[in-house]
């Protein structure tokens, strides 16, 4: 069959397919015209890679299903050197699973879920993303409600404090981590694959653009520090000298606040926020240690590399 006819068929396929496959088809058509052997070799290599990835994914799925009925498979990034995870949302969800005494297993092979976010879970074959939606689903399924003793006003305040931390203060921390610190705390705080280390500049530039789009990145570092200090001050004032954020008993909001504060205490050395916890808001620091002692007695064993449990 003439080469031109084959390339015409490929071009027709391109018109039907979506753009990534269309680009691939155009490249294949170009290759076919120049060398049939190389084009066939390229197709075989891509097919082998795709089949291997598919088979590995099916094997992973079988392993997750083998976890057992009602056992959560928690998909997340690898452990950190000084804290169990450098993502505040992973730490939030894992703390909740411990607080609610829900059996779970950890998976590091597929940390990013359907929304391009981490963590996410698989439970009885069903995938769920976003830490807050996961917590609400698990609360309903396992009938766990740690906020039932709170008044409506207290629940409203807890909600607002959590949203404030996760949608405002977090961006200030992200600015320090990726723009001011250039990702160094990430590199030294967890295992990062070699090819990701090489593309760190592109990674940092992507985050810089992300933070600019959100809005926080348009301020000066001084203004960002000022805005975040106001948030931490509000949190510290509300906590006061209570054991936990809403009183004597831990609630769901404590998981979110703990997950965030751990990032400041253990993964942001040299940042203005770590200094604020020591000098301006010592009650937040002692609160963080209190929650850690209660729900993470095996903290040292959850580090990478694991440390002796004292």
């Amino acid at each position: 069959m003439p080469r031109d006819a084959i390339s015409k068929v490929i071009m027709q396929l391109m018109a039907q397919l979506q753009w990534p496959a269309a680009v691939g088809a155009r490249g294949l058509s170009w290759l076919w015209k120049r060398s049939r052997r190389v084009a066939v070799a390229a197709v075989v290599v891509v097919a082998v890679v795709k089949v291997r990835a598919y088979v590995q994914k099916q094997q992973r799925r079988k392993r997750w299903e083998a976890a057992g009925q009602d056992v959560v498979v928690l998909h997340m990034f690898v452990r950190g050197k000084n804290l169990p995870n450098l993502s505040p949302f992973v730490l939030k969800l894992e703390t909740y699973l411990r607080m609610a005494d829900i059996k779970y297993e950890v998976d590091y092979e597929e940390p990013m879920g359907s929304k391009g976010k981490s963590p996410w879970i698989t439970l009885n074959g069903q995938d769920l993303a976003d830490s807050q939606f996961v917590m609400e689903h698990l609360a309903s399924k396992f009938n766990k409600d740690f906020s039932s003793h709170l008044s409506r006003e207290e629940k409203a305040t807890a909600h607002a404090l959590r949203i404030m931390l996760e949608n405002n203060t977090l961006w200030g921390l992200a600015y320090w981590r990726y723009v001011q610190d250039g990702g160094r705390a990430i590199l030294t705080g967890m295992y990062v694959p070699f090819f990701v280390r090489l593309s760190l500049t592109a990674f940092v530039r992507h985050f810089k653009k992300l933070i600019w789009m959100q809005g926080m990145g348009r301020h000066s570092p001084h203004d960002i520090e000022y805005l975040c200090k106001q948030d931490l001050a509000a949190l510290a004032t509300h906590l006061g000298d209570k054991d936990f954020l809403m009183g004597d008993k831990p609630t769901e909001v404590d998981c979110a606040v703990f997950g965030f504060l751990c990032q400041l205490m253990y993964a942001s050395a040299g940042s203005p926020y770590a200094r604020m916890l020591e000098t301006d808001f010592p009650n937040l620091r002692s609160y963080c240690l209190r929650v850690k002692d209660k729900f993470w007695p095996d903290w040292n064993a959850c580090l990478d590399p694991p440390q002796p449990v004292s």
Partner: protein, 307 residues
């Protein structure tokens, strides 16, 4: 070299390179560019001179054009202008240059100084004019009001963006503004702004969820705010504070700028105290609300009898 300068240099090299392309075209293009740049520079200086004439201690507030049902389609413009009225700070409005030093709106010029971001402006003005509207509150009250304001401005704001610019198939935003004199808003500006904000909402995180999930998140925020407000006159009690301005700015977008939206229905059906609160703030600080619309309405006419 910066991108526009680099592109311009490439175009000039292409125009001037080779004897086939007449130098006359190059000269004409350069001449046009120089004239346009000069005119823009002169206009910029004239604008600055006009702003300077406003007077010492008079804030020049730079904002988007007025809306048809609300003084602005931006919650932060409504927030800042409400604060200026609450704090009795004299101000003039400028519509010519709405985007400021941080590429955001609103921004202000005051005695030759330019400041961006509504929250930072309010902090600056409260120090400059010695207006501390929250000094009577306890630390706990201030902390909770702060959290409520940040929740509305940094989270609910994005839920509203997703509705207004992504989910609203009827594009009601086009009927709420007369933006765009050279090119039509609905067919040109709206699709471009929609694309940009869709991307920004996805980068922020809220935009990655499905609409039912976004709606449930927005509902939780409104519920928390409604419970916190309760039967109080204003957010923290009987007196208005800076945080009321932020919350009012955000709620004004739902109450007056979201006709037919599920968010407005949620507020009307489940959180009527938020509507009463908005009407109370509007009566107190915006007696000339109708005159601040585009086109202005008679003072005694109401756009919507229910709100």
């Amino acid at each position: 070299m910066r991108a526009p300068g680099g592109l311009g240099a490439m175009v000039l090299r292409w125009l001037g390179g080779g004897g086939r392309r007449p130098l006359a075209i190059t000269a004409v293009v350069m001449g046009v560019v120089v004239v346009v740049k000069t005119v823009l520079c002169v206009r910029r200086r004239q604008r600055r001179a006009r702003w300077g004439e406003a007077g010492k201690g008079v804030v020049v507030l730079h904002i988007f054009p007025r809306g048809t049902s609300c003084p602005s389609l931006s919650p932060f413009v409504v927030k800042l202008e409400t604060y200026l009225r609450l704090a009795c700070i004299p101000y003039l409005v400028d519509f010519e240059k709405p985007l400021g030093p941080k590429g955001k709106c609103p921004w202000v010029s005051l005695d030759g100084e330019e400041i961006g971001d509504s929250h930072l402006i309010i902090q600056h003005l409260s120090e400059r004019f010695n207006r501390h509207l929250s000094s009577h509150l306890s630390g706990e009250q201030r902390a909770t009001a702060h959290a409520m304001r940040v929740m509305m401005e940094e989270h609910f704001f994005w839920c509203n963006v997703v509705w207004r610019w992504v989910e609203d198939r009827k594009c009601t935003v086009s009927s709420l503004t007369h933006w765009g004199t050279l090119l039509p808003f609905h067919h040109v500006y709206r699709p471009l702004v929609s694309l940009l904000l869709r991307h920004q909402a996805s980068m922020q995180g809220v935009g990655r969820h499905s609409w039912p999930q976004v709606y449930s998140m927005a509902w939780e925020d409104l519920h928390a705010l409604s419970v916190y407000l309760g039967g109080k006159k204003y957010l923290t009690g009987d007196e208005l504070t800076e945080d009321d301005c932020g919350v009012f700015g955000m709620l004004s977008q739902v109450v007056w700028c979201s006709p037919g939206s599920p968010l407005l229905s949620a507020v009307q059906d489940n959180f009527p105290n938020l509507i009463v609160y908005c009407q109370r703030v509007r009566e107190r600080l915006w007696p000339d609300w109708n005159r601040c619309l585009n086109p202005p309405l008679p003072d005694n006419s109401l756009l919507d009898a229910s709100v």
